[in-house]
Structure formats: structure tokens, C-alpha cells
Amino acid sequence: MVEDYFRQYGLITVFAAIAMVVPISMLLMSWMATKIKVRPRRPTPVKLETYECGYGPVGGQWTFNARYYTFALLFVIFDVETVFLYPWASEFGVLSAQFGVFALLEVAVFGVILGIGWGYAWRKRALEWR
């Protein structure tokens, strides 16, 4: 079983390795193509624009709306909630056989308490984009 466990993660490792090797080798090949003069390199100002066939960028630095941060924080909190629900959900079949309705009730309470937080966010207009 132990072997099986690591074999599965070995597969994931192989996947990750392929995912990394492919783009790296593409960059490498393009670089080598330049070196051996297969790919010409003649930069012009037009070519180097951010959006080559679009509008030229106007203005200075892009200002970042602070509201993104609100959403990010809410996301983190509900993310952590998921973390607590996940082990319960993955074993729910066994747990409900053993503990009956309590298995559902406990998590319902958990959800209701966080639901109040969600209601708060809604009511205080934290979820609106202005």
C-alpha cells in the first residue's frame, strides 16, 4: 500500500516534470535558433509595443482597485472553511452510518455560523463592485 501511495505521487511528479520541461525546452530551442542564425532578430519600435496590433498604452502605472483585496480576504476565509469541510465530506458516508444525523447537524451549525458572515458581507455591501 505504501508503494502504491508513492507510485501515485510519482505519476504526479512525472506530470509536473513534463509541464516544466516543455516550456523550458521551447524557450531553449528559440534561444538556440537565434544562436545558429536560423531565426533573425531585427527589433523595431512598433514590434516592441505592448499590444503590437492594438491601441498604444496611455497613461502611467495601472492603479489597482482596493476592492480586489476585500474579495481576496473573503476568498481566504471561505477557503479555510473548505479545508474544514473537506475531511468531513470525504468521510461522510462512514460518519453518517456511525453518528447518524449528528454528522450532518454539526456541519450545518458550522455552515450557518459562516452563513451569517456571508449575510453580513452582503448586507454591508462588501460584495458590490463600486
Binding site: V2, F84, E91
Partner: protein
Amino acid sequence: MNGVEGSSVTDVAFWVVSAIAIAASIMVVTLRDIFRAALFLALSFLAVAGLYILLRAEFLAVVQILVYVGAISILIVFAIVLVRDMPGGGKDNHLKVVAATVAALLGALAIFVSYNSDFTNLDALESSNADVAAALTGTYDLDASNAVGDEYEDQIAVAPPEGAEGTEIGIFSNSTGSIGGLFIRDFVLPFEAVSVLLLAAMIGALALLRQRGEES
């Protein structure tokens, strides 16, 4: 990693992942560009998730990726973008040497302790052929006939669900499930307390983030 016998592959994996984690952490504290430092922080989180997998703590690994790599890193990046573009980074300060010394001493202490300490509990569980996953995530193992499991067996009967006869089902045969079982059996109270804690954190964050004139 000495608990895993005959798996030199995992040993190699351990060293590779550890090297990535350490290198990324060093980059985090030495890089001038705070944005790149944040990206390396994410990489170091990812490597730590790899270490959890090698320790057979799958659930922790998932949490690490979900919360730290997924959410916290995003939050850090947002905070950096929000504040200001600062490619030059901060200036050195005179506490650099002190901080490095303290960190080195603490690291040495941690290594010293983990070599000299007698983690009897872990050894006993490993040697008794128990499911190490349960041991390493701090949970009980009900199937295996080790001391810890035996004492608990009569207290918590493991009833296989209907239609599953013939197969021996232990509810705590994997670490994720065993944590779910703990949430519902022994640690109901802290589990619910966590929801209140998250609620307080959420309300506090929203109250503090609301902009002037939006209070109602």
C-alpha cells in the same frame, strides 16, 4: 525519512524537495524585488507541500496548496500590487547580521532537538506496522493491532456501513478521513469554535476594509 524502508526513490525526492524549499526561502529573504520574493514564497510553500506528501500527510499537503499556495500567495501579491511598485526593495538595516545570527541559532537548536529528542510515540507507531499516515497526522489508528488502537477499540466501535460486508473498513485508514472523524467525535467543540473564529475574522476584516462614507 528513516521510517520508509527500501525506498531510495523517496529519499532522493526528499532531498530534491528540501533543496527547492530551502533555496526558495533564501531567495525570499535576499531578493530585492518584493514581487519576485512573493513568487519564491509561493514556490517554497509548494515545496513544503511536497514534504507533507513524503510524510504521508496528504491532507496537510492539500491544505498547504489550497490555502497557502492558492490563497495566501494571492493575498500577498495583491497587497504588493496595491501598495506601490517597489522594484528596488527596501534598504538594508543594521539588524541584518543580528537577524541572521538568531535565525542560524534557532535553526541549529531545531536540528539539535530533532536529533536528540526521543519521539517515542512516533517510533512505536511506525514499528508496529501501523498505518503510518494516521500516526503522522496525529490521529488514532483503529485497525492496526497496536497499543494505541487497542485501547480505543472498545470505546469506539467501527461499524462498517451496510452493504460493505466482507471488506474490512476502518474509518481511519487514511489521514483525511481520520481527521474528519476526529472533527466529529473528540474535537467537535474546537471545530465549532473555529467557525466562530472565522466569522469574527471575516467581520473584522470587512469592517476595517470599508472605505470612508460606506459605513451604514
